[in-house]
Symmetry: C2
Subunit: 434 residues, 2 copies
């Protein structure tokens, strides 16, 4: 049987899972492909730690160059993550006409233009299904299954750590910090969870999807990003009373002129299927002009799910190689020549319904002042909950849902309200997505 030769750079959790999958399922992969995938070299700075898989010692190297410079290797898998040296390694592989598989969303979000365009120029395949949504086949769906469709919107729960924390806070009525600690204890959150809980990882992923869906470069810095660290138990409880769930949502909507691209906690009606995707699961909803909506749900992280997406990408490339196909699908879904710079909407330009949680002293006239200011800014209230009376003088929560309002007006109103002397702390704003 023919074989396709693979080199792996990065022998961490996902790298080790890729090795395990190739060993465990090599038979069925070989049957489906009609060839074997032959892993010939693994590079990592640390080649002494036990990764839980057995590999021939001569396969291991601490020099990425040993993979990149090996003329026998057809496909390079990059799994070291981060910007550098990942960027250099990937560009080097491309310049040597090696195909690339990567799971590196940070790299693609920041350097997608350079890397993906270079791959197209060199006629080299680059695939990155594992970069978004783990085992969820969202990238190939956008590039291939929805190729006839004009995509209008993508909404995703694309960070398993944040979703685990919010689910935990919802189910067990615990605070953010306790849920985070448990996520860390269970291995669902890293020691430094910043990228996950601050929404940066989600922003990387929606940047990648946006590029593919609409055929536009995306400046990562221009994405509005808000994490989940300020969400409280109280917010979640109030959301439930109004019939909503709070999820960290990555949103990308295209109205034909500009793209509304943002990551923030959002309130979702509890009867929406995506609102019921809990724990470390991810979910991505695609809306377009032909199929209304398509929802994909699966494990968004973890070695084996993510590794299975990596290996599927390798099989895709092996199929290209074996069938003599080159440049079959453009790396960015659209050929570089068809990309267009579509402007992003600023967050002030969006319209939404809003959940507002004020913490106010329990005094006469408070409600009328707040609702008066909201009214001045053209914001009308759809419903309201006032909590129990203030026993400790620390303020009482006052919670409102607005009708459709302009973000700019809401921000201006909150600035004025938060200056009032009976308002105890900055007002919490959570956007509603229906």
């Amino acid at each position: 049987m023919d074989s396709v030769k693979i080199g792996l750079i990065g022998f961490g959790t996902i790298g080790a899972s890729v090795v395990r999958i190739l060993q465990k399922n090599g038979d069925i992969i070989g049957q489906r492909l009609g060839a074997s995938l032959d892993l010939v070299k693994i590079a990592d700075l640390d080649i002494t730690t036990d990764r839980g898989v057995t590999v021939a010692p001569e396969m291991l190297t601490t020099r990425a160059g040993d993979v990149l410079e090996d003329p026998a290797i057809d496909v390079v898998i990059e799994l070291i993550g981060g910007y550098e040296p990942a960027r250099s390694f990937v560009l080097q592989a491309i310049s040597r006409k090696k195909s690339v598989v990567t799971a590196n969303k940070a790299l693609l979000a920041r350097h997608g233009d350079e890397i993906l365009s270079e791959a197209e120029r060199q006629g080299v395949a680059i695939r990155f299904e594992a970069a978004v949504g783990g085992a969820i086949p969202i990238i190939r769906s956008i590039k291939e299954a929805f190729v006839a469709n004009r995509i209008h919107a993508i909404e995703g729960i694309v960070n398993g750590t944040a979703n685990y924390i919010l689910s935990k806070m919802t189910d067990d009525h615990v605070d953010f910090q306790d849920a985070l600690k448990e996520a860390q204890a269970k291995g669902f959150a890293e020691a430094d969870p910043t990228f996950d809980i601050e929404g940066i990882d989600s922003a990387h992923k929606i940047a990648v999807l946006t590029r593919l869906a609409y055929g536009t470069p995306v400046r990562f810095e221009d994405i509005y990003v808000q994490g989940i660290t300020s969400i409280t138990r109280e917010d979640i409880r109030c959301a439930q009373e109004f019939g909503f769930r709070i999820k960290l949502l990555a949103i990308s909507k295209f109205d034909g002129t500009s793209i509304d691209l943002r990551v923030h906690p959002a309130m979702l009606p509890e009867d929406k299927p995506i609102a019921n995707v809990n724990g470390v699961f991810n979910a991505i909803l695609v809306r377009d002009d032909l199929m209304e909506e398509n929802l994909l749900v699966g494990h968004g992280a973890g070695g084996l799910p993510t590794g299975s997406a990596v290996v599927a990408d390798v099989v895709d490339i092996a199929r290209d190689i074996r069938s003599g196909s080159r440049g079959r699908v453009p790396p960015q879904a659209f050929p570089v020549a068809s990309l267009q710079n579509i402007p992003l909407k600023k967050i002030e330009q969006i319209e939404a319904e809003y959940f507002l949680r004020f913490l106010v002293l329990d005094k006469p006239g408070v409600l009328s002042r707040i609702s008066g200011i909201l009214g001045q800014f053209g914001i009308s209230i759809e419903s309201m909950i006032q909590r129990r009376r203030d026993s400790e003088g620390k303020g009482v929560p006052l919670v409102m849902m607005t009708h459709l309002s302009r973000e700019k007006q809401v921000q201006a109103a909150l600035e004025e309200i938060d200056r009032l002397d009976f308002v105890c702390e900055p007002t919490v704003l959570i956007r509603v997505e229906k």
Copy 2:
């Protein structure tokens, strides 16, 4: 710009939608493909009915041969449905080395062996994403995204008509016949709804998925199929009381030895995401050794969703043609040489939990007789509801959920129970899927 030439056989709802999509989204398809899809001929016995799309009169023909024999046509789309003449047309196209796109699940379920194997032998691409789940990219996911995975199970709500009827019965507490009438009035059910409500269409679809998932031929006649016509409002209400939803489920489970392949109404715990897929939506859950589970939800029918899957298949083939690729992905996910005959389990061999609804006269000793017989057959009861007393002498419903039991034993017990003189009608059995 290059073009790929297409001929269409079958100008019904989906055919007209394909034409509309090519017209409406030709620009974006052209950008993504780097070539145009050029529909040159449409064959249908009826070329006079207004299909709501404008086509040049000279494109229309009543002779399928005008499409099949046209040497300029690269890709033939078959959308006439049914077994013949669809089978002959598809085989003719293949023998003339034309690639084929079809949405015909009945054809693939019955003649999949012949047609798909012939396509592989001739090195011709045949794609059929639209045959299962409309716009849901399940077929390419199984063939490409999950290529490294050992699939264990597929569970699907794959018939929108049946799902609409059951959802309607659940939400509006109406009887089957009323829900069916409404589905017909809304165009969600055909005048003759047999295939949909009797589970035959679902069986066609799960037969196709089973073939691809495990690499086995499937004898359609051997699939256990039970429709939804005997489901009553009362069953649905009881299911709800136990925390379940009733769905028409297509199930295909592979334990490494044999396949448990069946279509029947099933009770699903209401907190399972698939239990909350309602109306005409379809949902397909795939379980395997690497990614735990992946759920895809979308429009399972309708002209535009299904048409978008057809056009995406055409684009796939156009990409093969333009990139010089041939035989890139085997039509059956596995090459013919790797197919294995995996036996199907008989329904008597399965184990499940069961919902049983007895209709009994309200007499002393009834419950002890029934539970006694169940006990003799090794069936233990997990919970029970006895309804209001019998006012009209027509019997009272007695509802039980069993623990995990053998189907064979359950069938035998029910046979004995249904012979008792206080049992008013044949006992309803609904399998539980957890």
